[in-house]
Symmetry: C2
Subunit: 113 residues, 2 copies
DNA sequence: TGTTAGTACCTTGCGCCGCAAGGTACTATG
DNA sequence: CATAGTACCTTGCGGCGCAAGGTACTAACA
């Protein structure tokens, strides 16, 4: 609760999975690539120990489908693509997120100019 | 992860405590009053089972101090006020939050117009 | 005096999720 | 056939929001 890194960790909760869905919206993604792309965002940086269980949950929820494809240099990759339910979940999140964001901005006084 | 209510629940994680700090910034608050004020915000509505452990953590972290005061109609109330560390923590959160918020907005495509 | 309703504080046990650490396996290179 | 690079996944832990339950003070009314 007080270490600097753990603050962003707590913020990621409940948001990370939808950022992952949003990345998949742009096209099929595989695990290691997602870790790299999230790692490029300071506040979303995560590890495989977080991502793979998350992806498994998305599959169980029926929000993504996967297909194995060969890699040009390495073992095969499991590619993830959004299902209709996944698109729907993402749309729902966008509504919840904007409402939540606006409320927090108002209460803590960080409303965007 | 899929029930509508639990989405906001997950979002609250890591943010609620700073919303509480922000409310205290406006002046001393006591527990039940905080529950009421948070309850007025749909996306922040919470219960005493959440709030009191949270307040205990804030005390242990040295971010708040408390004083007992009598109530005009009922048992005494424990009033919470920010310490210097509390103000500092809130300032730090504001930076982290705006960075996090902007990143999420960009990735999920909810950037404010 | 007892009882009830209102107010206010707090605890217990559960479930979920992000994380560090560790593990398996495929491919190419020398 | 050993080593390095890539890619997948699991295990155990800690923290927090929550529902449910519990204690205690005050006032009103019988």
């Amino acid at each position: 609760m007080d270490t600097p890194g753990s603050l962003s960790t707590a913020l990621r909760r409940g948001t990370l999975e939808f950022c992952v869905l949003a990345l998949m919206e742009q096209g099929e993604q595989y695990g290691v690539e997602l870790v790299r792309r999230l790692g490029a965002e300071r506040t979303l940086t995560t590890s495989e120990g977080t991502l793979y269980p998350l992806l498994a949950r998305l599959r169980r929820a029926g929000w993504v489908e996967t297909t194995w494809r060969e890699s040009p240099n390495g073992p095969p990759r499991r590619y993830y693509a959004l299902t209709q339910h996944g698109h729907q979940a993402l749309r729902h999140f966008r509504e919840e997120w904007t409402a939540f964001r606006d409320t927090v901005d108002r209460i803590v006084g960080t409303r965007a100019a």
